[in-house]
Every structure is written in C-alpha cells, then in structure tokens.
C-alpha cells in the first residue's frame, strides 16, 4: 500500500505511528498472500478437497458463450478465447450434435458423464481423499472416478477405452494436476453437442481459492477433433447446507423400475 503522507495534516508523531502501522500491515498482507488462503489439509500436508462440491456456472448447458435458448439459460462461456477450436469436419459434427441434442445427448440415457463434464454438470459430486487417491462420486450416474495420486502411470498393455478415462494425479505445490487419457468416444462435453473422440486428453488443475471454493481448470486436447488444445475454467462451491448429502440419481432404470418389487 502506498500512502502519500505529505498530503495529510497529522502531527509528525502520529504520522510516524501511522507509517509504522501501515508498514506492519503491508508486511502481514504480503506474508498472507505468499502463504495462500487457509484451507483444509490432510495429515500429509496436502490440501484436502474432501467435501461435496458443485458449480453454479451454466457450463453444462453450453461451454461457449450463448444467449438464452428454450432448453438452456444464457452463459458467458467458460472457454478461454470463447470459441472451441474445432477442425472443420469436426465442427460440422458438432453442429449436427447441436441440432439433435434433445434426443442425442448421452446424458438423457443416464450415461456416465466422463471428464471434464462430470465436474461442471449441475448436480453435486463428492470428493473423498486419501493419500493414495482422490475419489469422485457423482450424484448423477453410478460410476465412481478414481484419481490415482500414488505415483502410478496410466496402464500399459491393451488399449483401454474407459468411459471415465484413466486419471493419474500429482501435486504441484497446492495444485492437484491430473492427467486423464484412455477415453472412448461415447460421451459429450456439454448439452450443446460439444464432443470428443477417443484421442481425448485432459489435464486438470484443482486448486482452492479459499476453504469453500475450488478453481477447476482443464486443458482439453484432441487432435482428431480440435485444431489445438484449449482451456476451460469453472469455480466449484462447497455445499454447506445442514445435513447435505448426495442422493442417488440413476436415470437408466426409470423405464422399468415400476415393475419391482412385487406388490400385494
């Protein structure tokens, strides 16, 4: 902080006291800024993301900036540079997805959302953290994602096409950096038909902004679909309502579950 003390009309002793106070305050502020926000930490000193989180952004309706539609609220977009850099042929596919989104969005079948969509889907998810892994349980769907933080690499051997990808994370300071590969091509990135191929590669960065807020950044790369990697950025808020918990949300059983159990 800079104050021009010459502008004041304080007596000199008070001015000295004020100057000393300002100096102490600015040193303390600098120290606090260097240390970062006070956040929950595990016994191993790493930030502990355990808790139930959800974005308030409109990202899942459409990652790109968009005005209101019949089926979506408006959103300023979460993509750095606004437009997702599609290859020309891929852009045509995206348009086709968009036009058929009311029936073609895999989420309508209750399919697993994959990465990164599961992070900004408008339902809560729970993070459960141990030193060896970070487990993400989404309320929507039934699949559980494991981010391995035990120094292991992606599996070798057979080609893997996981619905959720394979997630391997490591810490860079207080940021959890996660490398996600080995995807299939069955899921979308949002409700607007933004999509990917099995060459998808996502690098996530999870970092506390404060104890109840996480900034989530993802670099999305897919040489079959996009002309270059691109970045998205959303903020996640901790659910703090009393007794809040996830409630199972399986859509794929809805059509036939009325037949069970037998009734008198």
């Amino acid at each position: 902080m800079k104050f021009d003390l010459k502008q004041t009309s304080l007596p000199s002793s008070t001015a000295t006291a004020v100057a000393a106070g300002l100096l102490a305050l600015s040193l303390a502020t600098a120290a606090a800024a260097a240390a970062g926000p006070k956040v929950p930490r595990s016994a191993d000193g790493k930030p502990d993301f355990s808790g139930i989180w959800q974005t308030t952004s409109a990202a899942d309706y459409d990652l790109e900036p968009h005005s209101a539609r019949k089926d979506a609220p408006p959103g300023p977009g979460v993509v750095e540079g606004n437009a997702i850099p599609y290859l020309p042929k891929a852009l045509a596919q995206k348009q086709k997805n968009f036009e058929t989104r009311e029936t073609a969005d895999p989420r309508l079948k209750g399919w697993s959302l994959s990465v990164p969509r599961q992070v900004y889907y408008p339902e809560p998810f729970q993070i459960l953290q141990r030193p060896r892994d970070v487990t993400i349980v989404s309320q929507f769907g039934y699949s559980v994602r494991t981010i391995h933080t035990n120094g292991t690499n992606h599996p070798t051997g057979d080609t893997h096409e996981f619905w959720l990808g394979d997630s391997r994370g490591h810490w860079e300071g207080d940021t959890l950096v996660v490398d996600v590969t080995d995807f299939n091509d069955e899921t979308w990135l949002d409700r607007a038909g933004n999509y990917h191929s099995d060459a998808l590669h996502v690098v996530e960065r999870w970092q506390f902004l404060d104890a109840n807020t996480i900034e989530y950044k993802a670099t999305v790369e897919d040489p079959k679909v996009f002309s270059r990697p691109w970045n998205l950025d959303v903020i996640l808020y901790r659910h703090r309502e009393k007794n809040f918990q996830l409630i199972e949300d399986y859509r794929y059983t809805v059509d036939w579950e009325p037949y069970y159990p037998p009734k008198p």
Partner: protein
C-alpha cells in the same frame, strides 16, 4: 471396445464337484459384460476356488486390536468378496437356479452337502414370507427361465444396482474408508455409509442402494439401512423386500483382518411374518493373489518396482442394449 472385453483370464476347473453352484443365465437373458469368460458361469464353478466354500467360521463381535485409521476406525480397506456362490439361489446358494431348464446346471446330491441358506435365522433357512409374498416368489421362479413380462427379469441382468444385500454376493468389491465415511465400490453401483451421525434422508426418498448410517463397535461396523426402494430383489430366486424394509447390518471383522461376516436383520411387516437374518461370509484378497475376473476383479499397475493392485471403472448399462437381444462379436 472396453476394458472388460480385452481382459482374458484362465479358468481353473475344480475336480471335486459336478454340480453347478454358479449357473449361467437363461438363454433369453442379457448379461452384464463378462471379462472374457465369466468364471462364475463355468461348469464346476471356478473363480479361484473360494466360490464353493461349504461352511465358514463364525466371528465373534468384540474388541478390535488390528490397524486403525487416524480417525480411529478399524482399517479394513481393500478388496473383498463373498465366499459362497452368487445370487442364483437365496436359500440354496449352491443349488443352482430354481427350475433351471438345463439339467447340467441343476444341483445333484443331498442338500446337506451344499452351503447353508443365506438365511441364518429362522433356523429353517427360509424367508418368513406372508402368503401373498410367497406366492409372488413362486410366480417369479416359475417364469424366470422364460420371462414374458418385465417383472420376471432379474434387475441385475439389466445392470441395475445390486442393492442390499445382493451387492455382497455379486462379484468382488473394494472398501475405502475416510473420516466419517465407508465407501464400498461394488461391481454394480456403490454404497456410501455415513458415520457422521446425521439423520437419514426423508422417508419418501427410495433408492436402489438405500441410505446408510453407521458406527463402529469394536470389530463390528453397525449400519442402519432405510430408504430402500426394494427393487433390486435378492437374486434370481425372486425373494424380495419392499420399500418399507428396515435393515440392521453388522459387519463383523476377524482379528486377523482377513475375513468378515455380514450379518443383517431385515424387518418389513408388509412382506414378512417376522424379521429374519441374512449371513454372508466374506474374505479379503491380497496383493500377492492373482486377479480372477469375478471375486477379485482388479488389475495390476506396473509403473514402479512393486506392482500395485487397482480397480478400474465399473460400467455396465452403457455397454448393453435392450434386454432380450444378443450382442454380436467382433471389435468396433
């Protein structure tokens, strides 16, 4: 192509038994993706040999002197599975599917030579159904092998979550623990047991995997289970609970942390004439045992010098098409 299709396991046939505890699905059924030959479907019941335990040790509830987590919970994390058969037959687990049209799949030999009923109380090993419910079960058993109505399809065949308690006798599973939670990752679905003392969900919310509130008493995880939708059924023999069922579970762990017995009392005055108790034995799988595609459905990561066992995603529904159709082979 998904990971399940690319995994190959060698089956080890058992010489001892000719009967089939782990019978195949009827021809019309659509089964969840098997890992290149589901060991539970093999004649003579493969699956590492433990699928055919005929008896199991009782484990006394008491103190825990094994490892603990920082929050004081007994540390029982790891990979576990049941030791007696699957969900084909609730009261005669190694007896095969009721009315199985394939004679090779039917149980032979005296009942006493097979594992006991999953029902440990009442002593007759039968679910104490009210007459209307017993009729429904008979009806299910009469139609299971040729389902002409949706209610005769066992919901696990549609990739429904296996529910309570069926999840414990369908494939191996993993237990993970955290302050305030025990997370169990099953082949079909998961359960998150809350240890935080918060209340159950509102009564009108009914879930496939119910709502679980638990606490530890020495070596026993005691769990109160409500908000069950009753839809998962108990298995292919059609026994069931309603959406009013209240289940009190006790997971009693042995002192050497290698086994536990799941002992659960089910109360449901709309369906049964009295509460009854289900007992399911389980055993732990360790790093030096080989994954076997059913009881120990894990993979080995070879990044470092020491191989690390890990569990891949469980995806079922997305990989299957409408019930009653048959998948054709070949890669995409």
């Amino acid at each position: 192509m998904n990971q399940h299709a690319s995994t190959r396991y060698r089956l080890r046939p058992l010489a001892v038994f000719s009967l089939l505890a782990l019978a195949a699905l009827p021809a019309a059924a659509q089964q969840p993706p098997a890992t290149g030959g589901d060991p539970s479907q093999a004649p003579n019941g493969a699956g590492g040999g433990i699928a055919r335990e005929k008896s199991f040790p009782q484990i006394a509830a008491g103190k825990w002197s094994g490892p603990r987590l920082a929050d004081g919970q007994p540390d029982v994390q790891g990979h576990w599975s049941n030791t007696i058969s699957n969900h084909s037959n609730f009261t005669d687990p190694q007896g095969g599917i009721v009315n199985d049209p394939n004679p090779r799949m039917r149980a032979t030999g005296p009942r006493a030579e097979r594992a006991p009923s999953r029902i440990s109380d009442p002593p007759d090993g039968l679910v104490p159904f009210q007459p209307w419910a017993a009729e429904k079960v008979k009806d299910f058993q009469a139609n299971f092998n040729n389902p002409t109505k949706p209610e005769y399809i066992e919901p696990l065949a549609r990739c429904a979550p296996a529910g309570v308690p069926k999840s414990f006798y369908w494939h191996g599973y993993e237990i993970r623990q955290y302050p305030g939670y025990v997370l169990i990752l099953f082949n079909s679905g998961y359960r998150l047991i809350h240890l935080d003392g918060k209340p159950h969900l509102a009564e009108n919310i009914k879930l496939w995997n119910a709502d679980s509130r638990g606490h530890w008493e020495g070596n026993t995880l005691v769990v109160d289970v409500t908000n069950n939708n009753g839809k998962a059924l108990f298995g292919r023999s059609g026994e069931f609970a309603s959406e009013n069922a209240h289940i009190e579970e006790r997971y009693i762990f042995s002192p050497d942390n290698k086994r536990y017995n799941y002992v659960a009392t089910i109360t449901d005055p709309a369906v049964y004439t009295r509460p009854f108790t289900v007992t399911i034995p389980a055993r732990r799988w360790t790093d030096d045992e080989k994954p076997n595609g059913w009881h120990y459905e894990t993979e080995v990561n070879t990044t470092g010098k020491k191989p690390i066992v890990e569990r891949y995603e469980r995806i079922c529904f997305e990989n299957n098409i409408g019930f009653g159709q048959v998948a054709s082979g070949g890669k995409k």
